[in-house]
Symmetry: C2
Subunit: 324 residues, 2 copies
């Protein structure tokens, strides 16, 4: 049976999110869950079938950066990754500090052959309903062209392995569609991708195409990807707010808004970044998923589901194949 580890501590909303998500997840999926954290806080998970509490004494805080992974050896995060390394579990999900999770994972697990730097990978919804794999969304503050080429391979393997896309179309995020567009990094990456036989490269996409193109994978540096993802998040907040204000303005609209309420709620869920699930840390030899820091139990449930699919579909093995 698949064994998944949950770092229950260090997220913005506290450990009860992990408790709720775990209970629902073991109910829906045939897995064993190992929940790492403060014994008392996790007490309501005691004696639950297929749930194991792993007592830890330290918490990786949101303010903890890369160095904390050496210091907090009994944190729920580090302990879960240690057990992943020892193959006591098959994958780890954490909503804690991104910096600490990245460094703990890289330090303890190493990276896959050929991979200098891991990338954080997520899936965004698209107009064509197929969704798009986007990486790197913030593991790196800057990248080289060769790193972006590797990200393309990681993204392709994920699109094939988890999303069952036959021959994933890979695009490069740029400021124009022609090959000569962009800065030196983009021009060099364009050439590498175009000349790589493993990659079905369809050229550049612009910001306006990210949610509206036919690409299956979009590659970008960690700085741009992070700004872009957070911009989508911010734009969605702005638009929902603006829509609400506009709908509440005038009596007829108010009636309309009540009737459309269910529709609006559905759309909000669709656009909610928490709903697309977690973000895989790609380039590691094991399955690690980062949940949004402000995840609620629904978002963490989705992150767990994503981790489950990665393990169930042997995505890491498929990535290794691609890198050969």
């Amino acid at each position: 049976m698949i064994k998944l580890a949950i770092d229950a501590m260090g997220s913005d909303k506290g450990s009860q999110i992990a408790v709720q998500a775990s209970l629902k997840f073991v109910h829906d999926y045939d897995v064993e869950l190992y929940v790492y954290g403060n014994e008392e806080e996790l007490s309501s998970l005691q004696n639950k079938e297929r749930i194991h509490i792993v007592k830890t004494t330290q918490v990786m805080e949101m303010t903890d950066g890369a160095l904390a992974s050496r210091r907090k050896k009994d944190s729920s995060m580090v302990r879960a990754i240690e057990d992943l390394k020892a193959h006591k579990v098959d994958g780890v999900v954490s909503c804690g500090s991104t910096g600490a999770l990245l460094s703990s994972s890289t330090l303890l697990l190493g990276t896959l052959e050929q991979i200098e730097r891991p990338a954080i990978m997520t899936v965004l919804p698209t107009s064509n309903k197929r969704g798009v794999v986007l990486l790197d969304i913030g593991a790196n503050a800057s990248n080289t062209a060769s790193q972006l080429e590797k990200f393309a391979i990681l993204g392709k393997a994920y699109a094939k392995g988890v999303r069952q896309v036959e021959n994933p179309k890979v695009a490069l995020l740029n400021i124009g569609s022609e090959a000569k567009k962009g800065d030196d990094l983009r021009k060099e990456t364009y050439q590498l991708l175009e000349n790589n036989d493993q990659i079905h490269f369809i050229g550049n996409v612009e910001g306006k195409d990210v949610l509206n193109s036919n690409a299956d994978v979009i590659v970008c540096d960690g700085f741009t990807g992070n700004v872009m993802l957070k911009t989508i998040e911010g734009a969605s907040v702005f638009m929902m707010k603006s829509l609400k204000e506009n709908l509440m303005d005038g009596l007829l609209s108010k009636v309309g808004a009540v009737l459309s309420k269910k529709s609006l709620k559905r759309m909000k869920m669709q656009l909610d970044p928490n709903q697309y699930g977690g973000a895989m840390i790609a380039g590691l030899p094991e399955a690690v998923v980062k949940g949004h820091g402000s995840s609620d139990e629904v978002a963490l449930y989705h992150a767990l589901r994503q981790l489950y699919l990665i393990v169930e579909n042997h995505v890491i093995d498929k990535v290794k194949e691609e890198l050969k």
Copy 2:
């Protein structure tokens, strides 16, 4: 009386957009308009009060890049900028090729003292209703920290001069709020802005804050700014589409949607990039505004209005003051 030049050719939607916008604009504002383009296409402007047709024979196409400005000397774009240089008009608006407009302007007009590279500057709507000045949104494919510092000064002068913000708060777009966040460019720029007494620097903002912060000016490199702006455009298209689909799904919602139609239309206008007006090419010694390539007559009208405000408020003189 203020004299404004309109490059009527080379936009995606043809010259009639310029004809319509010109007629409405002279009706609403006390200006003289000089409309550059094909005589026949502009014939409906003949004998209109305060409108002058300037016959030109060439058209700067969307595919024309930087080099075309030397080749197409009788294009509506180059002729308008020539007349701006000769002070026959006080400002130019064009919806033509960005590359050609940038190079024609820089070549013919030069740049302001201390300014190595112009920036394209726009104003985005914000949750607090005050709006935010954003630059560079794509004049440059890459920038240095010193260029970003100059962009901050240009943005500040515009916020003060056109938008009447007393002591504009300037922020740097980055991937985290702390000073040490981001790549080398961001770290270096942070230091320059923090140590610049002319700038009221409030630190970093992230992508999610762009439409939701209290900054009056946000500075970024041209690559990131272009990706971000186009991402907002694409996200708004995605969300409107998704909203429409969700609203049309179910009878009650359908009734609701009809009642809310006016509200939705209002919101769409608010989010429509064409509605925020044009984008100023900042750093030039004269007033040049770039309209969106797919502008309709409403968008071009707004771009004209923005140009009018820049001239009326002596923004270029204020920028020169700031740069002293």
